[in-house]
Amino acid sequence: MSLWLVVAIAGSLTLLIRLSFISLLADWDMPPLARRALHFVPPAVLTAIVFPELLLRNGELAFSADNYRLIAGVVAIMLAWKVRRIMPTIAVGMAVLWLLQSFP
């Protein structure tokens, strides 16, 4: 499959997802189970991306003090819990990572 076709399909699907309840499914009475399943999409998908980024290095579990991404990530999680805003969380997380990287 050509990459252009792949991108076109992925883009169309993204648009259809965004259109879903605004237009296409506006009159659909969604079953409660499906509605509930949709509710769990962000927690399940977002952590499924975050956990490997923090816990794995070259595909191996890295629970150690020299895993700087894990430390910076835990700081970011605690900060996000407190402030609940995107930009400060990213800024502080990056600052912690850079600090740890520059003082080995």
């Binding site: 499959m1 990459l3 252009w4 076709l5 792949v6 991108v7 076109a8 399909i9 992925a10 883009g11 699907l13 993204t14 648009l15 997802i17 965004r18 259109l19 879903s20 309840f21 605004i22 237009s23 189970l33 509930r36 399943a37 949709l38 509710h39 769990f40 999409v41 962000p42 927690p43 399940a44 998908v45 977002l46 952590t47 499924a48 991306i49 975050v50 956990f51 490997p52 980024e53 923090l54 794995l56 595909g59 991404r69 910076a72 990530g73 970011a76 999680i77 996000a80 819990w81 609940r84 805003r85 995107i86 930009m87 969380t89 990213i90 997380g93 990056m94 990572l97 850079w98 990287q101």
Partner: protein, 211 residues
């Protein structure tokens, strides 16, 4: 708020070029998919030589949360003509949703709020396209030691932590995360799709037990 999206656009451009995505395609992805986090992952997958089906499925899973934004905004947009609905839906990113939903909730009686949505959406869109171009231009000039790819994980942390309100949410998140780590060895990040499925199922089970 518009400036907030700019660093990500630049980082996306840098990462896409670093992963070996052709220049024109890297910019076209910003135009056609227009979803920061999904674009980061799509670029990684293209770089890793993943199959088209995996790229499409992964983009779908990562963007599925936009259906929640769609459901949340739908009541406010239902009187608009179809063209408006399509245009505003195309512009419905994480950042646009955050800006627009607050405006709709805080200005209940004010008419023509769709123009605010359009303005915010187009502003973010322009910023995203321009910053993507800057990132593509910088491309390989940015050293990997800057660890710019880590901003993706940080963004998702900032998005996910505030939505963890119940035990069921926490179960969905923890199971999704643990399965993703355990299944990371599967080819082309199929572990992500498996983890999403397990996490959603775990959330549903805890929700059922608590009812």
């Amino acid at each position: 708020m518009l400036i907030g999206a700019a660093p990500f656009g630049i980082i996306y451009g840098v990462l896409a070029i670093g992963a070996g995505v052709p220049i024109v395609l890297a910019q076209a992805i910003s135009l056609i998919i227009f979803a920061g986090s999904a674009q980061f992952i799509a670029a990684q997958l293209i770089g890793a030589g993943a199959s088209g089906l995996v790229i499409v499925l992964t983009t779908f899973i990562v963007n599925l949360r936009h259906a929640l934004y769609s459901a949340s905004l739908a009541p406010y947009l239902k009187e608009l003509p179809r063209g408006w609905k399509w245009l505003l839906s195309y512009l419905l990113t994480d950042e646009a949703y955050a800006a627009v939903i607050a405006h709709y909730r805080n200005n209940a009686g004010v008419p023509n709020k769709h123009w605010y949505f359009l303005g915010a959406g187009l502003g973010l869109w322009g910023c995203w396209q321009a910053s993507t171009a800057v990132g593509i231009f910088l491309g390989t000039e940015v050293p990997p030691q800057w660890s710019l790819d880590f901003t993706l994980a940080l963004t998702f942390i900032a998005l996910v932590v505030p939505v963890l309100k119940t035990r069921a949410d926490l179960a969905a998140a923890l199971v999704g995360g643990v399965v993703a780590v355990a299944a990371f060895g599967l080819p082309y990040r199929l572990g992500l799709i498996l983890a999403a499925f397990c996490g959603i199922s775990a959330g549903l089970m805890v929700w059922r037990l608590q009812k």
